[in-house]
């Protein structure tokens, strides 16, 4: 399943961060670690914010979270996306 492009995977994770700066920093960190990701608008189901978020495969949950936290990136929320529905992950 995970070899599919992210947008076609049934279950993915959306990392919502504080500020576009954090999103750009996350891009840099994930790119340097060769993690597959996409930068998407924050889904309206999650927030009315007009910012951007980071989409990754479900299997990368722990790894990505650790990478972002180690880089000083503040995570506002992590959401499981399943067939267009979003569910907030517990901390």
């Amino acid at each position: 399943m995970d070899h599919l492009p992210l947008e076609k995977q049934e279950r993915t994770l959306v990392f919502v961060l504080y500020s576009i700066h954090n999103v750009m920093k996350a891009e840099k960190v994930l790119r340097s670690q060769e993690v597959l990701f996409d930068t998407i608008p924050v889904p309206k189901e999650i927030s009315a914010d007009c910012g951007m978020a980071i989409l990754v495969a479900c299997d990368n949950r722990k790894r990505v979270r650790k990478m972002l936290e180690n880089s000083g990136i503040d995570i506002k929320g992590i959401y499981l996306r399943t067939c267009g529905r979003y569910e907030k992950e517990n901390d």
């Binding site: 504080y18 500020s19 576009i20 700066h21 999103v23 750009m24 920093k25 891009e27 840099k28 930068t39 998407i40 608008p41 927030s47 009315a48 914010d49 007009c50 910012g51 951007m52 000083g72 503040d74």
Partner: protein, 387 residues
């Protein structure tokens, strides 16, 4: 003396560095042509490209000044805005502020404005006639007054006189130390990780070789009780009518100068490629040559330290029986040599060094100047004073 037609010798780098290198021009143009959309405002590809360019510029500046987290780099239009953000954002009614008599009006005017409105008590500690800060005097003032803010420049824009920031940091007590780095960022090595400076203001268009309209304020911790100068759209927290409280958005409202900061990142790249220590050595060599020649000239009086080790590549002078503007006009019209004359937006500094109100002729050198440029200026000045 004959002039070379079409060759302009630019000796006004303390105001704005010129010419900019090809890499800076290309970076500005590429941004302008290919992706000059609003960063952080939309999800489309061009907005993201603009966001990435702004992020990379912030990362480049943080790395250049040895700052651990680029969120502490707040972008502004220039050092004047940076200093205003720091001054107006830090002081509260009834606070005491201490500064030196060598400050530029970008420091003096906001401070005098607050003083005139009865909001702060301002103490200006006189510097020496060469422009050196009176550090024991500043220490006594700090001890006696327990100020909120202590403001000093890293080097004077009039005489180039350098201030020992380590010593200043050692006497600041509990005051917030704001440093005006307009004249040193890019020409003197600055390691903010090993300096106890709370707020560092810089501009992009001088020795950092960037375009005009770029500057910044660097925060030591990001936890300073600093209030923003402006509120407005940031692209973040758009569902709220209140300003976001996180960095850098808290201090950056409105669409930024994306092309400019792309150019600034390229400028910093050029400076890093050559190396600030190498640039400093080059400028010291040119300054030494200029000072030595000027010291032999009758009618010419140099103001400031007269020592390349104790100043930036800025030399201020006066000529007997000629006004600074007359000397500057002849250098420009007859020799195509660009210098700045007058008070350099620093009347307090000129009062300190004894050149108020007539001012001085200021020759300020940059990394793109050569020894030939300096020799041409020396020859032109000799010609002007000999007739």
């Amino acid at each position: 003396m004959t002039r070379s037609p079409g060759k302009i010798i630019y000796l006004d780098h303390a105001a704005t560095s010129f010419p900019k290198t090809e890499k800076v021009k290309e970076a500005v143009l590429e941004h302008f042509i290919k992706y000059s959309a609003s960063p952080g405002r939309s999800g489309h590809s061009l907005s993201l490209a603009a966001s990435r360019a702004l992020f990379e510029a912030r990362e480049a500046i943080a790395a250049f000044f040895h700052v651990d987290d680029s969120r502490k780099v707040i972008f502004t239009r220039n050092v004047t805005e940076s200093l205003n953000l720091a001054i107006h954002g830090m002081v509260r009614e009834g606070d005491r502020v201490i500064t030196t008599s060598m400050e530029h009006n970008s420091v003096m005017r906001p401070l005098r404005y607050l003083e005139e409105r009865g909001l702060i008590q301002l103490t200006v500690v006189p510097s020496s006639p060469e422009g050196f800060a009176d550090i024991p005097g500043l220490a006594r003032a700090v001890q006696a007054q327990n100020p909120r803010l202590l403001v000093v420049n890293h080097a004077s824009n009039v005489t180039g006189t350098l201030v020992d920031l380590e010593r200043i940091a050692g006497i600041k007590g509990s005051a917030c130390l704001l440093v005006d780095g307009a004249q040193t960022a890019g020409s003197i090595p600055i390691h903010l990780d090993s300096l106890d400076v709370d707020l560092f203001a810089f501009t992009g268009h001088k020795a950092l070789q960037g375009p005009q309209g770029t500057g910044g304020l660097i925060l030591k911790t990001g936890e300073e009780p600093l209030l923003p100068l402006m509120q407005g759209g940031t692209g973040s927290h758009s569902e709220f009518e209140q300003q976001p409280d996180f960095l850098p958005d808290r201090f950056e409202s409105g669409t930024p100068n994306g092309c400019g900061f792309a150019g600034l990142a390229a400028g910093i790249g050029v400076v890093e490629e050559r190396g600030v220590p190498a640039i400093r050595e080059h400028e010291k060599t040119l300054t030494k040559r200029l000072l030595e020649a000027l010291l032999t000239m009758d009618r010419v009086h140099i103001l400031g330290p007269r020592d390349p080790d104790k100043q930036t590549a800025v030399v201020s002078l006066q000529v007997d029986r000629m006004s600074p503007s007359e000397v500057g006009f002849q250098l420009d019209r007859e020799f195509d040599i660009c210098v700045r004359t007058g008070l350099h937006c620093a009347p307090a500094a000129h009062r300190t060094i004894g050149s108020f109100p007539q001012g001085t002729v200021r020759l300020s050198l940059g990394m793109t100047n050569s020894m030939d440029d300096v020799d041409a200026a020396i020859e032109a000045l000799q010609w002007i004073i000999s007739r």
